[in-house]
C-alpha cells in the first residue's frame, strides 16, 4: 500500500504546530487506508528531531540536515522533497497552508505533474465513479475546502494524476499523540547530492520574525470585533474586556481591512481558526468568512445593534445594543461578581 506523506516545517529545532496537526491528520488517513505514514523534515542541526515526530505514528522519516536549509528557501526544499516523493511514490501528500507550504507545494505539484488542492479544512477517504470511463475509483482523498469566498464547501478529488496533494489550514486538524514510544525509521538524506548551487540563487538578506506573542488558537476566551466597532479607539474597550477576563482580542477580516486591528489577530477563513470556551463577538455581522473560523466555540455572545445580524443565529446570548454601553457594563458586573 502506497504511503501517506507529510512535509514538516521546522525552525530552531522545533517542529511547527501545523506540522504536528498534519502528522495527526495524516495518521488518521493512513489508518483508514491501512497505509504507512511517512514524513520529511529539512532544516539545520536536526539531530534528535525524530523525537518530536515519531510519537504521531510516523513509520519512516526523511531528514535533510544542512545549515543552508534554514531559514526556508523555495528551491532547495523543492529539490529535496521532489527527490524523496519520486522515490517513495506516496498516494497522498500533505503540506501546511502556511507561507512556507503555499510557496512550496505548488512548485512540487508542477514538477510531479499532479493535482494540488489548496486550503483544505476537512480530509477524508472515499470512492468516486467516473462516468466517462465507467470505472469506480476507490480510496481516494476527499480534500474538502471552503470556496467562493466561503459561501460553499467543495469536495475536490483527483483520481488519475497522483500523488493526491493538499495544503491544509492551520488549526483545523486535531493534534493527537498516536504512541509516545512509536518506532520510526530515520533516513538521513544526502543533501549535497540532491541540491546544487543554482538552488541557492535567492539570498535572504534580512529577516524579522516576530515570535508570535499572539496565540489566539490556545486562548480560552476571545473578544473579537468587527467593522461595527467603528474605530481603533473603540477596540481598546474590547482589549479591556479581554484583559479582565484573561483572554485575547481578535478581529474579523473587515476590522483588519479597516485597520482597526493587526492582521495577525484575524479570525476566520483567511485568518486563524479558533475554538475557545467563550467567544464574544462585538459589532460582527457574521459573514461566513468569519463564522467558519469561530463557530466551534463552546459559548458565543453576540453584541450587535442589528437584532437580525446573521451571527446571532450562532450565539447563545444575543445582546442587542451599543457595544460602547454593553462592554463597560460587562466589565463592571464581572468585577462585582467574580471572586
Amino acid at each position: 500500500m502506497k504511503s501517506v506523506f507529510v512535509y514538516c516545517e521546522v525552525e530552531n529545532q522545533k517542529v511547527a504546530e501545523i506540522s504536528q496537526e498534519l502528522l495527526s491528520a495524516g495518521k488518521r488517513l493512513a489508518e483508514k487506508l491501512g497505509a504507512p505514514l511517512e514524513a520529511m523534515v529539512n532544516g539545520k542541526d536536526l539531530k534528535g528531531i525524530e523525537s518530536q515526530i515519531a510519537p504521531y505514528g510516523v513509520d519512516k522519516l526523511f531528514v535533510g540536515d544542512d545549515t543552508r536549509l534554514e531559514p526556508y528557501r523555495t528551491l532547495p526544499h523543492a529539490a529535496l522533497v521532489t527527490k524523496v516523493l519520486k522515490q517513495e511514490d506516496p498516494q497522498i501528500v500533505l503540506f501546511g497552508a502556511t507561507s512556507v507550504g503555499r510557496d512550496l507545494a505548488p512548485r512540487i505539484a508542477s514538477k510531479l505533474n499532479c493535482g494540488l488542492t489548496a486550503d483544505t479544512t476537512i480530509l477524508d477517504i472515499g470512492d468516486h465513479f467516473v462516468k466517462k470511463e465507467k470505472k469506480e475509483y476507490t480510496d481516494l482523498l476527499y480534500a474538502i475546502r471552503p470556496a467562493f469566498g466561503g459561501s460553499i464547501m467543495a469536495n475536490i478529488i483527483n483520481w488519475d494524476m497522483h500523488p493526491q496533494m493538499a495544503t491544509v489550514r492551520e488549526g483545523v486538524m486535531k493534534k493527537e499523540i498516536f504512541d509516545a514510544n512509536y518506532k520510526t525509521k530515520v533516513i538521513s538524506v544526502k543533501v549535497n547530492e540532491v541540491v546544487s548551487d543554482t538552488d541557492f540563487v535567492v539570498k535572504i538578506i534580512e529577516r524579522h520574525i516576530e515570535e508570535s506573542e499572539v496565540n489566539l488558537k490556545d486562548a480560552p476566551i476571545i473578544v473579537a470585533g468587527g467593522y461595527g466597532v467603528g474605530s481603533k479607539e473603540n477596540f481598546d474597550l474590547l482589549k479591556n474586556l479581554a484583559n479582565i477576563l484573561g483572554g485575547e482580542v481578535g478581529g474579523s477580516r473587515a476590522a483588519v481591512d479597516a485597520g482597526f486591528i493587526d492582521h495577525n489577530r484575524q479570525i476566520g477563513q483567511t485568518g486563524t481558526t479558533v475554538r475557545p470556551k467563550l467567544y464574544i463577538a462585538a459589532g460582527i455581522s457574521g459573514a461566513i468568512q468569519h463564522t467558519a473560523g469561530m463557530q466551534d466555540a463552546s459559548l458565543i455572545i453576540s453584541i450587535n445593534n442589528d437584532p437580525e445580524a446573521p451571527i446571532n443565529a450562532l450565539a447563545d446570548y444575543v445582546i442587542t445594543g451599543d457595544l460602547g454601553i454593553v462592554i463597560p457594563k460587562m466589565i463592571q458586573y464581572y468585577k462585582e461578581n467574580a471572586k
Binding site: M153, V326, Y333
Partner: protein, 291 residues
C-alpha cells in the same frame, strides 16, 4: 540601470467578496450570472508594482497577460488605462475548465512565446479560488526562481532585484537574479487610478473576437490605429498540447459542493439593561465559563 521587461499576470474573477443571497442556486452551485466580475485585487497590486518600476526606470516595458473568456479583455483595457505598454489575451474555448496545473501550463506557453522578460509579476492569489498556486507553478515550468508575497521592491540592480516579503509572522528581505517570478501581497501599495488621457487613447481597444459582430466605425479606427487591436492567442498560437489544457489537463475535479448553513442555536436575547447584563455575567461565572 537598464530598462526591464516585465510581464504582469492578471485575472478577471467573480467578485466573491460581495456574494449576495442569490449568488447560490438552490442546488448549491454557484450562480455565476449573479456575480459581477472584477480585476482580481492582488493582481492590481502586481500591476502597481510593475508600473512603479517603470516610473523608476524609464524605458521599462510592461506587458499585461490575461487568460479567460472574451469579457476578460476588460483586464487588458484596464491595464492600458493605467499605463502598460502592451496587452495580450489568451482566449480559446478549449482552455476552459482549467485548474491551476493546466492554467500554469497555458500561461507558460504564452510566456515562452513572448520569450524576452526579466521579471514576471502576478497577485499572490485570486479571490475566486484563493489557491496562490499559479505563480509558483509558472516559475517551476519556466525553471526560474520565485519570490512570493512581495510587499515592496527595495532595490533594482543590474543583475539582481531586492524585495521585501510579507510572511505570516514577519518580513524577510531577499535578493534574486533575473529572470524571476514574483507574487505580490495585498499589503503592497494600491494600484494607481486610470489616467484620463490613456482612457481616451485605449477605450476602443478590442480583440478580433470582440469585433466579430462588425462595427464599421470601429473597424476603420482599428485600421488607422493598430495599437487598438488586442492580440488574442489561441491553442495553436501558443503551440499548446491539448491534453495539458482545459478540463483534460486538470487533475483536480470538483466532486460535489454544499452550501454552508449556519446551525441555529437557541439564543437568549438580552437588552443592554443593567439587569440583563448582570444576569448574564452571573450565569457565566456560575458555569465557570469566566472567573
Amino acid at each position: 540601470m537598464r530598462p526591464l521587461k516585465i510581464i504582469v499576470l492578471a485575472k478577471q474573477v467573480p467578485d466573491t467578496r460581495h456574494v449576495g443571497p442569490d449568488a447560490m442556486k438552490p442546488d448549491g452551485t454557484v450562480n455565476r450570472g449573479k456575480l459581477s466580475t472584477v480585476f482580481n485585487p492582488d493582481d492590481l497590486h502586481a500591476l502597481e508594482l510593475a508600473l512603479n518600476i517603470k516610473d523608476r526606470i524609464p524605458g521599462t516595458q510592461v506587458t499585461i497577460l490575461t487568460m479567460g473568456p472574451q469579457k476578460a479583455a476588460d483586464i487588458i483595457r484596464e491595464g492600458y488605462y493605467r499605463g502598460v505598454d502592451d496587452g495580450i489575451m489568451i482566449s480559446d474555448r478549449r482552455f476552459g475548465g482549467a485548474d491551476t496545473l493546466a492554467t500554469s501550463y497555458t500561461i507558460v506557453q504564452a510566456i515562452k512565446k513572448i520569450a524576452d522578460y526579466d521579471l514576471i509579476v502576478g497577485g499572490r492569489q485570486a479571490i475566486d479560488g484563493d489557491t496562490a498556486q499559479v505563480g509558483p507553478q509558472c516559475a517551476d515550468k519556466l525553471n526560474i526562481p520565485q519570490v512570493t508575497y512581495v510587499e515592496e521592491i527595495l532595490e533594482i540592480k543590474e543583475d539582481e532585484i531586492i524585495a521585501r516579503r510579507r510572511l505570516e509572522t514577519g518580513v524577510e528581505t531577499v535578493s534574486a537574479p533575473y529572470p524571476v517570478l514574483m507574487t505580490v501581497h495585498g499589503s503592497s501599495p494600491d494600484c494607481r487610478s486610470r489616467k484620463a488621457k490613456k482612457v481616451m487613447k485605449y477605450k476602443y481597444a478590442r480583440t478580433k473576437t470582440e469585433m466579430r459582430k462588425g462595427d464599421p466605425v470601429l473597424e476603420a479606427l482599428h485600421l488607422k490605429r493598430p495599437h487598438l487591436v488586442i492580440p488574442e492567442w489561441s491553442v495553436e498560437d501558443i503551440n499548446a498540447d491539448v491534453t495539458k489544457i482545459g478540463l483534460a489537463g486538470s487533475p483536480t475535479k470538483v466532486k460535489s459542493v454544499s452550501s454552508i448553513v449556519l446551525t441555529a442555536t437557541e439564543s437568549k436575547v438580552l437588552t443592554d439593561s443593567d439587569s440583563d447584563i448582570e444576569g448574564m455575567i452571573k450565569e457565566l461565572i456560575k458555569h465557570h465559563t469566566i472567573g
